[in-house]
Symmetry: C2
Subunit: 368 residues, 2 copies
Amino acid sequence: MSTTTLWDVSANNQPHRGHPARSTLADVARLAGVSGSTASIAFSGDGSISAATREKVLKAAAELNYYGPDPRAKSLRQGRSGIVGVVLEDRIIHSFRDPMTIAALDGISQEIGEGGGMLLLTATGVGEPSIQTAVFDAAIFLGCSPHLAGSITVMRQRNVPMVAIEGQHFDGVVAVDLDNRKAAAVMAQHVYDLGHRLVATVTLPLDARRELRALTPADLETATTAVSRDRLEGARAVYPSVTGFVTSTSSSDDGFAAALLLLDVAPDARPTAIIAQSDLIAVGVIRAAEALGLLVPHDVTVVGFDGARIEGFTHHDLTTMVQPATEKGRAAGRAVTELLAGEASPDVAFTCRLHVGDTAAPPTAVAR
Amino acid sequence: MSTTTLWDVSANNQPHRGHPARSTLADVARLAGVSGSTASIAFSGDGSISAATREKVLKAAAELNYYGPDPRAKSLRQGRSGIVGVVLEDRIIHSFRDPMTIAALDGISQEIGEGGGMLLLTATGVGEPSIQTAVFDAAIFLGCSPHLAGSITVMRQRNVPMVAIEGQHFDGVVAVDLDNRKAAAVMAQHVYDLGHRLVATVTLPLDARRELRALTPADLETATTAVSRDRLEGARAVYPSVTGFVTSTSSSDDGFAAALLLLDVAPDARPTAIIAQSDLIAVGVIRAAEALGLLVPHDVTVVGFDGARIEGFTHHDLTTMVQPATEKGRAAGRAVTELLAGEASPDVAFTCRLHVGDTAAPPTAVAR
DNA sequence: GTAGACATTCGAATCGATTCGATTCGGTAC
DNA sequence: GTACCGAATCGAATCGATTCGAATGTCTAC
């Protein structure tokens, strides 16, 4: 029935495979001549115990090569494993390549790790069933789509606290939000105010399809990825009919490819500004522009989103919306901590800040 | 006693906090009118059961909002949690910034994730105790130092299979190695063969200290990070007295800073080649050279290590030793899978390949 | 001398499932 | 009609600890 042969339990059934039989707390207690409860206290430290007894227990433990309670049993009894699940939308490698995800993960690990918690990474999609079999105390969804509805039901039933960073809002899931829509509108307005009228956009993936393709009007309807949809809506608030491309992932390669298609056209059809939905994409766009012999911002204005510090991109100061990415992660981590402590935790909303760099300028009057 | 108040269990003791009491498999069995064992089979699927009975159980489960067995209890009984611990040397954020670590993680997750396993990230250091309380079936050490000896003892006693990628060799820990020493020597020889006699190196961190500093002869003795030590030894095999700088982390910023110190000197004291221990560092070195008005490779040869594809570094083709980073991760993942299946798994050794790019050339005869 | 307070220690129940050996039962073969 | 077989189901033990209430022992106070 189960397709996951890798974790087949049968291999585990052999009583002992050459190794000396593992000793348990009960063995230790027996050797030390105390009850199991006392031995437990000797290790956990909560409950009163005389120094002599503890000594005796620890000595017995050393003798039996017993190094402390089995985490599995402990977690069953206590209902706590110290593990926080982080659910990523993408395949793990994609997430790792996105500086914003990394920053959020870092923020999470700062808060969680400090308290001795650990991070369990999971991705939705192929391995989705695993999320239901996972031993974790709380879950953080990182930019996840509605796919999750089922899993969320399960976790809710298990009383597993949940936090969603920039995802769809679900009942009983603490939201850590970013004002993507508004920020994208602010940025678009900035470009508009500079005088640009013919602009294009390069968006992040809008749904599960992972391929670079032209943005179609239908995309807004069918979009499942909240972040990209919101940013696109923000841009459309200023440029209602903006078109462009949808990337397969937030990368400068995709930005490069998209920009080649957008910019390698007759000068009077060429957009005077490109609004990229991420800094990584923006960098690719700039690189493509320069490869085509265009100057940024003289010939084309390029703006990004995120405020990522991009390794190796130093000759420009990108105009972008700076978001508090690490802070988002920390907020999620704190929320989890609070929820696990039995406290309520309010939703949090973060805002972006416009950073005016040197990649946006008024359009140059060409033959138009 | 325990300092980890965050995961305090007390908050969990409240019987039910507004939520309806969680139902268990026993409740389901009772409602369905079957025994617990039968109900278990209805979910797990191994064991024979009539379709009618299964149906009855699933219906009862639905009625009680029971969504499947509690992973904690399951893992206790089966002795398997489906979790593979990945132990990182550094703070998590540092690891995330290193493309080689990311690649290895990706490789691991490819192999592990495919079988339904999950990745639990931990770092040594502050949270070290946690490694002993962690619920995992196997552990992968990613470039870890001898700090771990204690933890390894514990895991060994628990029969937790272990794999170390490029770490110190421990008994009973499968090694996935890279020929760092030899590859570094090959690279140094390449530089030597080009005619360079005055060279400097910029190394990765050699021990727990995380600061940019001058490389001293004592460093080789006290080095605890195997990778950096091996690469340094490789370079010394060709240039026995090579000096230079030790970075705080693999980053182009540190490479930049180190290179400024190395290159901003009188031309006849300036090294004609710089051997960087990572591509990230090499990129920083090249950037610094160019900032000083030096041409690469005309004025200074720069070589790296790793074969990382660096975002935004396109105007040069770095001469470097290419390592199969993702493949290392996959090998580790496979090893874990085999070990968990009860099979033996041999050590694996990977080799690097010299990639000759355009950043290394014979030295130009200056006034020397 | 005895009651009460306090610190230790113990026994047994519990966490929530899985699993193994035994049992039941309908059906087939002779 | 009896013997036997396989499929379905059940009961009870088990995984390895934690925890709570009860029992024991010690010391102080009056």
